[in-house]
């Protein structure tokens, strides 16, 4: 116990490590905020960069970058309606309307404090219950992942805004985009039209930058001459009363974040969207409606995506299995530094586990500090004249789309989806479900096929499998309930019941 505490405190007490975590967090916030610079990319580069360092400083820098990056995505989502990272897509839905009302300072303040809360819960679960959670996560079978994906797809209802029909189309379109290219399971070509160009598939980041960056920039050209909204920067740090009010919700959404983060194959992006949907479901009377600047719409995704960070480390530390793309790279980093990540790591090297927990919690604190101090500079960005801001956003979108895969093809995709997204926006087709579809496409498709192959292509056996497993059954019932609650039928039943009760 005493040893664990010592290892935990290593990073807090050594000035060099303390500095590196801080530096990483600060850099991470900017990496996360710029669409096209991703944490995955930054951490891969850090592997080469820190190659000759000792393992502690190297990991310190990476963890700082990771924590800061996940949080940083919310900045541009709130200020420009352009999520800096996929996990901030849901944040834009209520954050940007707040910025339009001049409340960007408040929005960023709440986001920062709630990210801290989420991060803290993720780390706590990692420290206290890692083996338990990883056993649970390991138990997910292909059919459970499939049901989880179906559950995710039902979020289309929450993300559609006006027309559910257009939302369903957008979601299906997203799933189809995700299928383009060489199928990773059978190497069959799908939607490639026999061209080399399409074989590599469509980069998900390119779709996101196009639909949210370019189409938003084009859209804002309509209002180029309207002066930018003056941002009120009064009280940035939310009062204790505000934090307390959202604490129950943030506990629930953080739990969603940890579990989704801990599952290998799902990460902060899905967690944030699911949390947003959850908040919409449980918040009966928001002060401001969702989509127009509801505080709950900020709290939910931001707690969830930061809680997912701690979650992602759970399978990594206990089993050597990555919880998401960034932890996959960090496992590689541990290998390079002579450690053997795997089920034995926690037994062979308990210092490493507690060191990482310590570094994560330190990074979380730095995130809170940097998050609350640099706001003034950031809000100046939105007050820049649009005639300068929009060309810069366009150039950044292009460079960002290219940077993901060093591919000019991705720039074409990005621009194509940008212009297409611009038209969709104009004719009231929601863009959120497209991204949701792309994110969930592989999860749904791959696991459906695995599940049905495992049951020798027999649907009765497939359903028998669902009914006999408690986990699958729970997920299945959740799918049915959420589906029913979204259909018009449920509305009429509910009102009839209410009438009876009255």
């Amino acid at each position: 116990m005493f040893d664990s505490l010592m290892y935990f405190l290593t990073v807090w007490t050594q000035p060099e490590l303390l500095f590196l975590v801080g530096l990483g967090t600060l850099a991470g916030i900017y990496v996360g905020a710029i669409p096209g610079l991703s944490v995955t990319m930054a951490v891969s580069i850090l592997i080469s960069f820190t190659f000759s360092w000792d393992v502690y400083p190297a990991i310190s820098l990476m963890i700082g970058t990771y924590m800061g990056g996940v949080y940083g995505g919310s900045r541009t989502a709130i200020l420009l309606n352009i999520p800096g990272a996929p996990s901030a897509i849901a944040t834009a839905m209520d954050g940007y309307p707040m910025a339009q009302k001049g409340e960007a300072g408040v929005a960023i303040g709440v986001t920062t404090v709630m990210s801290f809360v989420g991060g803290l819960i993720g780390i706590l679960v990692l420290a206290v219950a890692a083996p338990l959670v990883s056993d649970f996560a390991l138990g997910f079978q292909p059919r459970d992942y499939m049901l989880l994906a179906v559950l995710g797809i039902l979020l289309v209802g929450s993300l559609s805004g006006g027309s559910l029909l257009k939302g369903i189309f957008a979601g299906a379109f997203g799933i189809a985009i995700g299928a383009v290219g060489m199928d990773p399971l059978t190497f069959t070509e799908r939607f490639t039209f026999d061209t080399q160009l399409m074989r590599g598939g469509v980069s998900f980041i390119a779709v996101m930058i196009g639909m949210f960056g370019v189409s938003e920039a084009l859209h804002q050209l309509h209002h180029i001459d309207t002066p930018a909204v003056k941002q009120k920067i009064g009280r940035i740090v939310p009062s204790w009363g505000v934090v307390r009010k959202y604490l129950p919700l943030s506990m629930q959404t953080s739990t969603i974040g940890v579990v989704i983060g801990a599952l290998p194959g799902t990460g902060g992006d899905i967690a944030a969207l699911m949390a947003y949907d959850h908040a919409k479901r449980v918040t009966k009377n928001p002060e401001v409606p969702f989509g127009e600047g509801a505080m709950e719409g900020l709290v939910a995704p931001e707690t969830a995506n930061n809680a997912a960070v701690g979650g992602a480390f759970i399978p990594m530390m206990t089993l050597g299995i990555p919880g998401d793309a960034v932890t996959a790279i960090m496992i590689g980093a541990l290998f390079i530094h002579g450690l053997n990540p795997g089920p034995m790591l926690m037994i062979d090297k308990p210092d490493m586990f507690w060191f990482i927990v310590g570094a994560l919690s330190l990074a979380n604190c730095f995130m809170l500090i940097f998050g609350l101090t640099g706001i003034r500079v950031f809000t100046k960005i939105v007050e820049m004249p649009r005639a300068v801001l929009i060309p810069l956003i366009l150039l950044l979108s292009i460079v960002g789309a290219y940077a993901v895969n060093n591919s000019i093809t991705d720039i074409y995709w990005m621009l194509g989806f940008g212009v297409f997204g611009y038209f969709m926006k104009h004719y009231d087709y929601p863009l959120g479900p497209v991204i949701l579809g792309v994110i969930l496409s592989r999860l749904l498709d791959d696991n459906w096929r695995r599940a049905i192959i495992s049951e020798r292509e027999s649907l009765p056996r497939f359903f028998e499998g669902i009914i006999t497993s408690p986990l699958s059954l729970t997920l299945f019932v959740a799918v049915i309930l959420i589906f029913v609650s979204q259909t018009p039928l449920w509305g009429s039943v509910k009102s009839r019941l209410a009438r009876k009760a009255a």
């Binding site: 390991l138 138990g139 059978t186 074989r199 590599g200 598939g201 790279i329 290998f335 002579g338 895969n405």
Partner: protein, 331 residues
């Protein structure tokens, strides 16, 4: 800021003369990694390249380029100029692209700089599997046809080659559940979604040590130093000797037609980097066998590997096009 700007402008003006005066490398070399960040190929390349950079006196910018079973990266390098500034960091898969109908290019369009190491296949099972050795597994499959679930990673991957070896010696009535890499498949094995997985030894060694998966047999002639107690397949089934030793490998390549000077410099740099003690320890720890070969020796290895594997797959009926159509001779 303004100082940077000035130096950049000055530099632009002077470049034309500088470029001629210096030898290779005069700018960053782009290293295209065929597989995603965090995978085996990625880890190996990111571990060996810093050493090579030191010898070269230049920097190598590594970039993961995924998709199309590695074909996207291969085509990218093949489409770039043959000037030694775009390097392919890949694995064995391209040698099977032609017969699997996945592309019309393979390593014959490239010059090997260094074949770093090769892996050993191993058959692992879940910890609760009702069998503990290869013969027991075959007997169990015989009694329960169509029930045991094997993990696979698509046509041409290591599991498909190992399964082709097995099914060319005996009948194998099992379900193949596809995964997009041995990492996710081994995770599924520990969670009970599949029962048996042919994997590369390095990826499973930690799980075996911890008892979360059970080793059945090593597909090699000699026992592995990393897992000396696991029996070799030839100790029970000598008929496998014809296929072995076989394994996936990692290599660094440039496009054919690259200047000899660049090839020589790159080869020397990677050969020296592969001798670094840290790198050797890393590879040994993951159960890889060091090769560190280049030039004609590497070329001969590639040719032999392709002949053996392509015909093995063809005999098992797993190819789309016969190797003979591409002039790949039967070994």
């Amino acid at each position: 800021m303004s100082r940077n700007l000035i130096s950049a402008i000055v530099a632009l003006g002077l470049t034309a003369t500088v470029a001629v005066a210096q030898d290779y490398p005069t700018k960053e070399i782009q290293g295209i990694i065929q597989w995603g960040a965090g995978g085996s190929t990625d880890t190996v390349m990111r571990a060996v390249t810093p050493g090579a950079e030191g010898v070269l006196g230049g920097s190598v910018v590594m970039q993961n380029m995924t998709g199309g079973v590695g074909a996207i990266a291969l085509n990218y390098v093949a489409d770039a100029d043959a000037d030694g500034y775009t390097v392919l960091m890949g694995a064995e898969n391209p040698l099977l692209y032609k017969v699997m109908g996945l592309g019309d290019k393979d390593y014959s369009d490239f010059t090997p700089i260094n074949l770093l190491a090769r892996g050993t296949p191993i058959l692992v099972a879940g910890p609760d599997a009702p069998f503990g050795t290869y013969p027991e597994m075959l007997a169990y499959i015989q009694e329960h046809p169509g029930e045991v679930k094997f993990g696979s990673t698509g046509p041409g991957g290591l599991p498909s080659v190992v399964t082709a070896m097995i099914s060319s010696t005996t009948e194998l009535d099992v379900i193949f559940v596809p995964y997009d890499g041995d990492g996710p498949a081994l995770t599924a094995l520990q969670g009970g979604a599949i029962d048996v997985m042919p994997a590369v030894l390095g990826a499973s060694v930690e799980g075996i040590r911890a008892g979360t998966m059970k080793p059945l047999v090593v597909f090699d002639i000699e026992a592995s130093a990393a897992l000396p107690d696991v029996p070799t397949i030839t100790s029970t089934n000598p008929e496998f000797e014809a296929f072995l030793p076989w394994g996936p490998f990692f290599g660094v390549f440039v496009k054919n037609g690259t200047p000899d000077d660049a090839v020589a410099k790159l080869s020397a740099a990677y050969a020296e980097a592969a001798q670094g003690q840290d790198f050797i320890d890393l590879m040994a720890g993951r159960g890889f066998t060091m090769m560190n070969i280049s030039g004609d020796e590497a070329q001969a290895f590639l040719t032999k590997w392709q002949q053996n594997t392509a015909w093995l797959m063809d005999d098992a009926g797993l190819t789309k096009v016969s190797p003979a159509d591409f002039g790949i001779a039967r070994p």
